[in-house]
Amino acid sequence: MTYFWKTVVHKQYVVAIRVVGFFFILLAVFLSHPVSSASAKQKEKKIQIGIAPWVNNEEYNKNITAFKKRLALVGFVEGQNTIYYQENAQGDPQKQIKIIQSFVDKKVDLIYSLTTPGTLITKSIAKDIPIVFSVVLFPVETGIIKSFMSSENNCVGTRNYISEGKQLETLFTIFHQVRKMGFIHLKEDPDSTIQLGRMKDMGKNFDLEVIDMPVSSLNELKNFSNETVDAFYLACDTFIQTEGEDSIIDMAHNRKIPTLSCSRSGILKGALVGDVVDLTNLGTVAGKKAAAILTGQSPTELITETQQGSYVVVNLKTAASLGLSVPDKLLAISSEIIQ
């Protein structure tokens, strides 16, 4: 036994075995190199969507609801895997900047921006986030996108454009003695400015003079109180849509002047008629586009579109108060008739 211990402790032997053992350990370590575990599934990240309505408006809200609904249809459900951040800038550009910046900081996956002024700011700040816009009249003309078929940028959306001719046609169908029409709009609103120009051009075909009536506040309406017009046109800009409609319609009523409205809400409030865009539907279509983007497509692969077909809304009450009768052929193709 002493022999045993003597040899075990023998210096050279120990050293030699040390070397052998060392190589062994190396080998074993090499073999047991931890297998890179299957890439840990990234925790389901919640989709974040920022919504910037620009102003608070019933029709806009319906649009947004439809938008969300359409997304939910394809699996992006609020509260489950989708978070919506909605903030309205109340028409204040500075606020809008802050809101959009906050979306950028939150690294949202998509921004849904309403109105042209709102979207112009959105686009300038969120340069790397896909933007779906809606309730924009002239995205190409205002520079939001390059073309309807391809935006060539991170924006795509749905526009609430109805051809000026069609709009006028609805009015003419009811009331054809329109020689002068007052175009009431928010001063310097980009859409309205373009629309005015187009309306004026279109008016030429009908021997119609379109008078520019820009206002920046309700007070300024008084400026045009003396203008003799045969009809009013309510533009689709946000001022009109938020504050202006009621006042202007009241004024029109008082002066017994028919009003052609760009938006549905105007007719509901008392404008005579309009070929309008169903904003709810517009929201749904915007939602479709958002869904496509969230599942991998890029905005420039999608088309920016408007409503297909007309959506004529006519207010019979207003017509009656104006002493006008609405022909059947208009009623036949009206989507909404307000009694």
């Binding site: 045993f4 040899t7 030699a16 062994f24 090499f30 073999l31 931890p34 309807f148």
Partner: protein
């Protein structure tokens, strides 16, 4: 660097020198290395096999899966195809129905306009509808998205050729992209007939094919897959990437380059699995595109799973190896050690055996019982030892016999020697006893004699004084008597010195002290006689057990003798040195063997004078008590005997060497204190 390397290599030193270690190292390496190596190789081989099996399996599965998916997708495409056909056909039938409405047949513009408006309102897929006369002149036109001004009425010249034909049939155009909308459309031409053969005009409908998109994209081809539709002219009708439609690029144009539109089937490109069907009525191709990655996801997933499982297995094996290596190592070591022990222990036994033999122990046998080569070696070794033992035994017997004879002789000699020694000792003892007895007697006598001597001495003076003798001659006679008394006293003193054994106080001392003291005492005598003293004494003498005063007496005596031997002066040498007894010498009346054995250390002192020497005939008698060559009254004759006696009691030897006329040397040999180094 190389120096470091060298030192490291030295330190590691994988080349053990000992046989046992070498064997050990080999065995352990084998014990651990071999199975590990085999295990790893085996495992790697099986791993390769398993990997191959997995990949074969997955390939097979992939093929199967592909076929399945293709079939499924083809079915899908067919469904879409059918639906497309139906849709468009339905629209066509609507148009046909519209074309027979009397107002339309009458080419009643106003009513027709209303009708068409309604038509468009109800069917948003109609982009534009117009009614043209026989020659192709549009008389009514309605647009879905805009008003149509009179100036927008066109003449469709192509229709003119049908003007007088009786066989006008509805036909459709190729798929084109609308400049206004940017969307694909076709134009359907439906002849308006009053009655068969009588062409009235045409109902021209532009169908916005984009309304088909929902239909096409409503079906799912699988994740990452899609369906697209392409017209025979290559124009994309539907595609997830709308941009491509506008640009008109069929992404798989190359793939379908040589395949006619009416063919159906499956194609696998590098990345995609395509199935294509023919939409008969519309003459379109419906293609389902599925990324292979997606299609084969389940298979790939399984493959990955298996691979990772395999890897896991491999790592488990590695862990197992890591755990088991030390165990194997330990077990291997123990086994190896026992094996080596089996080899080296017998060898060592043999070594011990040879060593024993070398020492002369011929009875050693090596106890190795193994059957192997070493066992054979051990057996032959034992035989050799046996032979040697026998030889040695024989020799011993011879030697013993001789020795016996020798011993006899030696013993008889020994006996004789012993006998003689015994005799001598007896004589000495007798002699001593005699002397002792005599001494005691003498002692008593001496003391008694002293008293009367004392009386005589005092009495003489008394008489001198009492008688007041003034006569010089008489006084001289008184002096003579006094001298005689003194002489008597001296003799008695000498006798007393000689005979009374004084107590010896033996102490280890340096003889130099004694010599120096003695010399000092006789210094006057030396100088008086003009004797030159030379000392040949080493600086340090080993200590001897002596009685200081007794030894002093000895030296004084001898020095005085020397002085008396050189009345006219001369050299007197005192010489001391150590000597190791290597031969048997004789002292006067003693043999060195009496006190010393060979190998003893002794201190020798010689007192050499260059006097008249001692004649040979007197030399043996100098140690006789009362023997003196001096004139009566001058010497007692007891000096040398006393000296010898003292030396005896010191267990030393005294010897004389003398040449008449040349000088005398007295040689004293004393035993050195045991432990003292040879100086």
């Amino acid at each position: 660097m190389t120096k470091q390397k060298q030192s490291i290599l030295e330190k590691i030193n994988i080349h053990p020198k000992k046989l046992a270690d070498r064997i050990l190292l080999f065995l352990v390496t084998m014990a651990v290395g071999a199975p590990t190596f085999v295990g790893i190789t085996f495992f790697l081989m099986t791993h390769t096999q398993i990997s191959k099996a997995i990949s074969d399996l997955t390939t097979q599965t992939k093929i199967t899966l592909e076929a399945e998916i293709s079939a499924k997708n083809k079915e899908l495409a067919e469904k879409i195809s059918i639906l497309l056909n139906e849709r468009v056909k339905r629209l066509h039938s609507l148009i046909v129905a519209a074309s027979i409405i009397p107002e339309v047949v009458d080419l009643n513009a106003e009513y027709s306009e209303f009708l068409l408006k309604k038509f468009v309102y109800q069917n948003p897929s109609f982009l534009e509808i117009s009614v043209a006369d026989r020659r192709g002149q549009e008389i009514v036109k309605v647009s879905r998205d805009d008003i149509v001004l009179k100036k927008d009425f066109k003449v469709i010249s192509d229709l003119a050729k049908f003007a007088d034909s009786t066989e006008a049939k509805s036909y459709k155009t190729e798929v084109k992209i609308s400049e206004k909308t940017g969307l694909p459309f076709i134009v359907l031409f439906q002849p308006i007939e009053r009655y068969k053969g009588r062409l009235q005009g045409w109902l021209i409908v532009s169908i916005d094919l984009s309304y088909l998109w929902d239909l096409i994209s409503s079906t799912s081809v699988g994740e990452g897959g899609y369906t697209y539709v392409v017209a025979v002219n290559g124009q994309l009708i539907s595609h997830p990437n709308k941009k491509l439609i506008y640009q008109g690029k069929d992404p798989f144009a190359d793939v379908f380059k040589d395949i006619p539109i009416n063919e159906e089937g499956t194609i696998k490109t590098k990345k995609y699995l395509l199935t294509y069907v023919h939409t008969t009525y519309l003459n379109w191709r419906v293609v389902t595109v599925l990324p292979l990655e997606e299609a084969l996801k389940p298979v790939i997933a399984t493959e990955d799973l298996l691979s990772s499982y395999l890897k896991g297995l491999l790592s488990k094996m590695g862990n197992f190896l890591l755990l088991i290596s030390p165990l194997l190592f330990f077990i291997g070591t123990i086994i190896a050690l026992f094996l080596t022990k089996g080899i080296t222990t017998p060898i060592l036994k043999l070594v011990k055996g040879t060593q024993a033999i070398a020492k002369g122990n011929f009875s050693t046998r090596v106890n190795v019982k193994t059957d192997d080569e070493i066992g054979v070696l051990a057996t032959s070794f034992n035989h050799m030892a046996e032979e040697m033992e026998r030889l040695v035994q024989k020799e011993r017997e011879l030697a013993a016999a001789e020795a016996a004879a020798d011993t006899e002789r030696a013993r008889s000699r020994e006996l004789k020697d012993a006998y003689e020694k015994l005799k001598r000792t007896q004589n000495m003892l007798l002699h001593a006893e005699k002397l002792s007895a005599v001494g005691q007697l003498a002692s008593g006598v001496a003391h008694e004699v002293k008293n009367p001597l004392g009386i005589i001495s005092q009495g003489l003076k008394y008489i001198q004084l009492k008688l007041n003798i003034k006569d010089k001659e008489l006084q001289k006679d008184f002096d003579l008597i006094n001298d005689a008394v003194k002489r008597a006293d001296k003799i008695i003193r000498g006798l007393l010195d000689f005979s009374v054994p004084t107590k010896l106080e033996l102490k280890p001392a340096d003889l130099t002290e004694v010599i120096d003291a003695s010399v000092e005492l006789v210094a006057k005598e030396l100088s008086l006689s003009g004797i030159k003293l030379k000392k040949e004494i080493p600086s340090s003498l080993p200590k001897v057990m002596i009685d200081h005063s007794q030894m002093q007496q000895v030296f004084i005596n001898l020095l005085l003798n020397a002085v008396h031997a050189m009345p006219k002066g001369g050299d007197l040498i005192i010489r001391c040195y150590t000597r190791n007894i290597d031969e048997f010498t004789e002292g006067i009346g003693r043999r060195s063997t009496d006190f010393f054995t060979v190998g003893d250390n002794t201190l020798v002192c010689e007192i050499e004078d260059h006097g008249h020497g001692i004649p040979k005939n007197i030399l043996p008698r100098v140690f006789e008590p009362f023997f003196t060559t001096k004139a009566p009254g001058k010497g007692t004759g007891l000096g040398l005997p006393v000296t010898r006696s003292i030396i005896d009691t010191h267990r030393g030897l005294i010897d004389i060497k003398s040449t008449e006329g040349k000088g005398t040397t007295m040689i004293i040999t004393l035993p050195v204190v045991k432990g003292e180094k040879h100086a």
